[in-house]
């Protein structure tokens, strides 16, 4: 078979499938709607996770530790210790928060301003805020860094703020698994919907298939338009799912911006990225094609001319 004949055959099959779907708009739209919704749900969950991740600004990696110095250690000594700390490998940044700054901050945010005025002396110690390098943020690295600072005689206590990071990452992981489960279940749903639609189509066109086989149509020839139909359902469903996602983003955009503002952020909701769309369309096409193939494989063989 030459390339031209090959192309012609496929173009014929594709156009034939499109024409057939167009002649049956109601059934086609219903099927597309089911597939579109089934694809949109896991995609929306995935998009939610992506947004949650970027809204919290790489939280997952922003680990730091607070090194509380003993209350007698003067600020000059704290500066000197900070310089020493900066020499240690794995340390990205060290900021000295002096006792005065600490008090000021506390006064500002805690709402205990008046109560603090009653204090004669500042009860807060000088603090070093240590940010580890990203490459050295594994829990073992953090442990060793903590032990290193804890061993200094001037250090009172080292607080490692990892618990909430771990919790946040765990929540994201649970959500990711949920997306996976939803994607698998709904993907199976898409397979079933496409498979059943194709099965009905095959039964409807039984006479045509018989005649086609009678005049020498191979199984591949008979199967081809059904595979294209499945592929079209997949693409159509993906387009619909895309529209649903964009519409959801549009509806949520304003409230999310308001919410972000209340947290002092200028975060704007992200629509589906190229990668999300690629997965959506790739998944839709693969499922549509596979559903059609399974159904065609099962049902076409039993139709032989008599």
């Amino acid at each position: 078979m030459s390339l031209g004949v090959f192309g012609t055959r496929h173009a014929q099959a594709l156009l034939g499938s499109l024409g057939r779907l167009r002649r049956n708009p109601f059934a086609t739209v219903l099927t597309l709607l089911v597939i579109g919704l089934a694809l949109a749900l896991p995609a929306a969950l995935g998009l939610f996770i992506i947004n949650a991740q970027s809204a919290t600004g790489d939280f997952g990696h922003a680990v730091d530790m607070s090194v509380y110095l003993k209350s007698g250690v003067p600020l000059a000594k704290a500066q000197q210790l900070a310089n020493d700390a900066r020499q240690r490998s794995g340390v990205a940044q060290v900021v000295v928060i002096s006792a005065d700054e600490g008090l000021e901050e506390f006064r500002k945010y805690s709402g205990f301003g008046a109560a603090l005025d009653a204090l004669q002396t500042n009860p807060l110690p000088n603090v070093l805020r240590v940010v580890p390098e990203r490459a050295a943020s594994s829990s073992a690295d953090l442990e060793s860094l903590r032990d290193y600072f804890a061993a200094w005689p001037e250090v009172d206590v080292v607080q490692l703020d990892t618990e909430w990071v771990l919790r946040f990452n765990a929540i994201l992981e649970v959500l990711r698994r949920l997306v996976l489960i939803a994607a698998v279940l709904l993907g199976a749903g898409v397979l079933a919907v496409v498979g059943n639609t194709i099965r009905l189509e095959i039964l409807n066109r039984r006479a045509e298939i018989e005649v086609t086989k009678l005049v020498g149509g191979s199984n591949a020839f008979v199967r081809r338009p059904f595979l294209y139909t499945g592929l079209i359902y997949g693409v159509g469903g993906a387009v619909l799912a895309w529209a649903i996602l964009e519409a959801a983003v549009l509806v949520l955009d304003q409230p999310v911006a308001t919410l972000a503002q209340l947290y002092g952020s200028r975060y704007a909701l992200q629509g589906p990225s190229g990668q999300v769309l690629g997965t959506l369309f790739g998944g839709g096409m693969a499922l549509g094609w596979l559903g059609a193939w399974i159904s065609a494989h099962r049902h076409l063989r039993s139709i032989e001319p008599r």
């Binding site: 014929q12 086609t212 009678l214």
Partner: protein, 230 residues
Amino acid sequence: MIEFERVSKRYPNGREALTNVSFRIESGEMVFLTGRSGAGKSTVLKLVALLERPTRGTVTVNGKSTGALRARHIPAFRRHVGVVFQDHKLLADRPVFDNVALPLVVAGAPLKEIDKRVRAALDQVGLLGKERMLPSELSVGEQQRVGIARAVVSKPPLIIADEPTGNLDPELSLEVMRLFRRFSDVGVTVLVATHDQHIVRELAMREIVLASGEVQSGGADSLPHLVARR
């Protein structure tokens, strides 16, 4: 072109449709297959078109034994056999052109050639100009001729027809049979199953008579004589 050698066919329901049938049809011959209903005419045609395989014996068509042919080679085999049915098996939702073009489309012929050949085939059966009509808009005789055009469009070396005149009046029947004879005149082998004795007498072609699944006359033994007569 067609050779049956001690062919028996038993269907899964146990009915023995053919018993020990032998005959030979030469290339370019036109042969009538006659007998009462249930004599086995349709079974012979099904064996030739490879819709069925023989239970015993060998069926050789175009130099190929059908019993040994693998399933994936069946489509290519069928492209070399034009089949005409009593109920013509046209696709009701497709215009005449598409119906006739089907064997060429299936074989992957270029569009230009499809166009040319379909018109030529429709011209041969006298239906040129009705390409865009639906089968239901045609008379029964015209529908049958569309079926014939479809059978000949890919220029197969062999045409088989199962009661092609079953639904036609005598005049139309004769016209259809003459059409078959014209194909046979240009070298196509034609095998027509019919119970219409009038037509068989009129055309005076070789006749293989089946009765209860066996060859009654016109089979292998009388072959040399009949070939000579042609």
